[in-house]
């Protein structure tokens, strides 16, 4: 047609016998090679999917469903997100992610769950929120899925391998509500070169930690000795303070079941916290959460901080860190009570009860895929090209594997031992009061802590004010219904 319409009839090549034979030969060769050409990507996909195909479940049972996941934005989940396309190939389920900053993800997911809109099939859940979810019947008990052989191959999934402390943290009244995906323990992170130059050792006690900070702080040369989170929020400054409170001998719930946040132990704990951040932390620490701490440390202005171990990829990221090869790790310093209390933290996946049954199955398959050993290993120890590693593996077998030990060596001095010891010995599921009222309790305490930190109130005033408000929230009743 173009030849007649465009007036270029002469451009049509004449078909000769030789060219016809040549074309036929080429077509035959192509036809012979076709299976091999087609096979290579299929074989590649099959190789990648092979570990999952060993599970005796029907991965395609919820084909066509969509799973929408709320997560926090951070570089070390890029590998997992990249591999999600494999999950889509494996199951025929479409996966979409929505990145919400840590300070907002709780509010948005609670709004979704309470309004039963079913926007998020699952989300990165704060372990402290499971009592609230359970009290409102917003999420599914995981046992129904874990113990159903159609949905889970118990031998292949091996739930017993999940880090026990995290499983305990995600359980409420004996029921598991969220599958741990990625977690951490809080540890001391310090500059080995600065510590050596000053003849210091990582602190064994809180008193030593403040002493080290005093020795290292040199604001004139833009070096600050230590910092902990100042940003207010139940998952921000109230992520660090509970460890200090318990180490000073505090107890969240008294003998009558009443939540207690004031008193001598609490005042001493707040004094220590305020003193550390006011005297030895960089200006503006009142608004610093973990990303700012990790950035400050990797830029070389901070000699030490106490925070989650999963920030390690940031502090040893070659594209942004100035302190690679000078990073050391140690357990939380002991408090006056003799206790070391690390955070017990993991982002877990719950199943939104507002979904249809088929969508819940799809969500469960996504959770199984994300939390199984193969994906954990491939996203943590051997991340896809162009992505960074992840250290918050959810399985004991991986934490104690040679691969993790090798990775830990790359991160810094004593990383593996500090993290392992913290997870195994320093964690306590009740390091914060696990009650449905936690969002209010955590919020009130976070504001009180910041009031004390910025000098808006003395520690005693801030804590007494918080106690009064918490009593009002609890309506004088016990912490557990």
């Amino acid at each position: 047609m173009p030849s007649s319409e465009g007036g270029v009839r002469h451009a049509v090549p004449m078909i000769r016998r030789r060219s016809l034979l040549r074309s036929a030969a080429a077509a035959s060769a192509g036809a012979l090679a076709l299976p091999a050409i087609l096979e290579s990507p299929v074989r590649g996909a099959e190789t990648a999917l092979a570990p999952y195909l060993e599970a005796r479940i029907d991965w395609q049972m919820a084909k066509g469903e969509r799973v929408h996941v709320a997560i926090i934005p951070t570089i070390f989940y890029a590998g997992w997100k990249k591999l999600a396309s494999e999950f889509e190939t494996l199951t025929g389920i479409n996966v979409t992610f929505e990145e919400i900053p840590p300070g907002l993800i709780r509010n948005k997911t609670v709004l979704d769950l309470s309004s039963k809109t079913g926007t998020y099939s699952t989300h990165f859940a704060d372990p402290m929120y499971y009592p609230l979810y359970a009290a409102n019947d917003w999420v599914e008990p995981i046992a129904e899925y874990l113990n159903n052989p159609k949905l889970t191959d118990p031998a292949w999934y091996n739930a017993a391998d999940l880090i026990p402390a995290w499983v305990a943290a995600n359980s409420y009244h004996g029921k598991l509500y969220g599958i741990p995906f990625d977690g951490e323990a809080t540890v001391q992170v310090y500059r080995t070169d600065l510590y050596s130059a000053h003849g210091l050792k990582p602190a064994d006690t809180l008193e030593q930690y403040a002493g080290n900070a005093a020795a290292l702080t040199d604001a004139a040369h833009r070096i600050w000795g230590a910092a902990v989170r100042g940003f207010p929020g139940p998952g921000q400054n109230m992520y660090i303070y509970p460890s200090i409170y318990l180490e000073f001998g505090g107890h969240w719930i008294d003998q009558n079941g009443k939540i207690t946040v004031n008193g001598p132990a609490a005042e001493a704990a707040v004094e220590w916290y305020v003193n550390l951040d006011r005297k030895y932390a960089p200006p503006g620490v009142q608004n610093w959460n973990w990303p700012e701490l990790a950035d400050g440390f990797s830029q070389g202005v901070l000699a030490s901080y106490i925070d989650g171990s999963s920030g390690a990829p940031v502090v040893v990221d070659p594209s942004r860190s100035h302190v690679i090869g000078k990073v050391g790790f140690a357990r939380w310093p002991k408090g006056p009570s003799g206790r070391r209390v690390a955070s017990i933290w993991n982002w877990g996946f719950p199943i939104n009860k507002a979904l249809s049954q088929r969508a819940r199955y799809a969500t469960w398959l996504f959770m199984v895929w994300s939390s199984c050993r193969a994906t954990q290993e491939r996203t943590a120890l051997n991340p896809p090209e162009g992505t960074v590693f992840r250290v918050g593996v959810n399985r004991m077998s991986l934490l104690q594997s040679p691969g993790f030990a090798k990775l830990a060596e790359r991160i810094g001095t004593n990383f593996l031992k500090a993290v392992s010891d913290s997870i195994l010995h320093d964690t306590d599921p009740d390091w914060r009061p696990r009650v449905p009222q936690w969002p209010a309790v955590g919020e009130i305490m976070s504001v009180a802590l910041q009031q004390a930190l910025v000098g808006q109130a003395t520690p005693k005033q801030a804590l007494d004010g918080a106690q009064q408000r918490i009593d009002q929230v609890m309506r004088g009743g016990p912490a557990k219904p």
Partner: protein
């Protein structure tokens, strides 16, 4: 004639019915999107609705309002709302009027001035809040902090110090919304009759007397409208403040709107949060009503 009258009435009634029919979708939309939520808000404010204790939920009468009266943080937030609203509105009117008076005297480049002036107004408040928090007011690294160090005033924690934080958020709000007042006043000045000024000049009235006795009274409607609009916006300010300070440090910048948000969505006390929000709504309505009355008074 009587036939015409008799014929007109049914036609008018039919027209009214038709008009109502045409209006019905819009009215229904307004009812569903505005009136119903307010009714629900009022209803919720009389409930004990706490997501963390669903087993206690139920009608609670005026309990949320009595709690409010004894809640020190409510009074603190209310006082902060008054300071924030009062100072931002006064600053916007004063600076906006001053700028408009100055620019109205300049004949060249008024179009460009208007274009530049409108830029802060069209920015999303959340962007403004983050912009000031991360680029302008950050201690040591922020642009403003750099200049204060340069002129020997030293580095300050503009958003982290309780005293400075309130001043900073007032400055941020004033920076963003003064151009609005400026543009309104500039338009109002352009419409003032020139003959009155000419007569005043012939009577040898000084520039200040011309401003005080002519310009200001004639601008009164514009000033009142700007004040009413700015008060309602300042009382319900949220995004820029939330992005810049989140109500902190501590509770130093937690105006009533932010406090209602914290109670509702962070502490999950929906009933008490609704009572706070409804109280803020009533305060806004009463102030607007009084200002409208004041506008009509003369």
């Amino acid at each position: 004639m009587s036939d015409a009258v008799h014929g007109y009435k049914p036609a008018a009634a039919a027209e009214r019915r038709f008009a109502l029919l045409l209006l019905a979708p819009s009215l229904a939309l307004i009812f569903v999107s505005t009136v119903l939520p307010v009714i629900y808000l009022v209803w919720t404010s009389f409930q004990h609705e706490d997501l963390s204790m669903p087993y206690l939920n139920g009608f609670d009468g005026l309990a949320n309002y009595t709690t409010m009266l004894g809640d020190g943080q409510f009074w603190n937030a209310l006082a902060l709302s008054a300071i924030y609203t009062g100072s931002t509105v006064v600053l916007q009117v004063a600076i906006g009027l001053g700028l408009a008076l100055a620019i109205s005297q300049v004949q060249q480049g008024q179009g460009l001035t208007r274009l530049v002036a409108i830029l802060p107004v069209v920015l999303a408040p959340v962007v403004v809040g983050l912009f000031f928090r991360t680029l302008i007011l950050t201690p040591t690294f922020g642009v403003f902090d750099y200049f204060t160090q340069l002129v020997g005033l030293g580095s300050h924690n503009w958003l982290g110090d309780p005293g400075l934080a309130l001043i900073s958020v007032i400055a941020i709000h004033t920076w963003q919304w003064t151009p609005f007042a400026f543009l309104v006043f500039l338009a109002a000045l352009a419409s003032l009759p020139a003959d009155i000024y000419e007569a005043a000049r012939m009577d040898r009235a000084s520039a200040f007397r011309r401003f005080w006795h002519i310009t200001l009274p004639l601008l009164r409607p514009a000033i009142m409208i700007v004040a009413i609009l700015r008060i309602t916006v300042a009382l319900s300010a949220f995004a820029a403040l939330y992005a810049a300070t989140g109500g902190g440090p501590g509770t130093a910048t937690e105006i009533l709107n932010l406090y209602a948000y914290r109670i509702s969505f962070s502490e999950l006390q929906i009933g008490y949060g609704a009572a706070l929000a409804f109280t803020l709504m009533i305060i806004t309505l009463v102030i607007s009503f009084l200002l409208f009355r004041l506008r009509r008074a003369r």
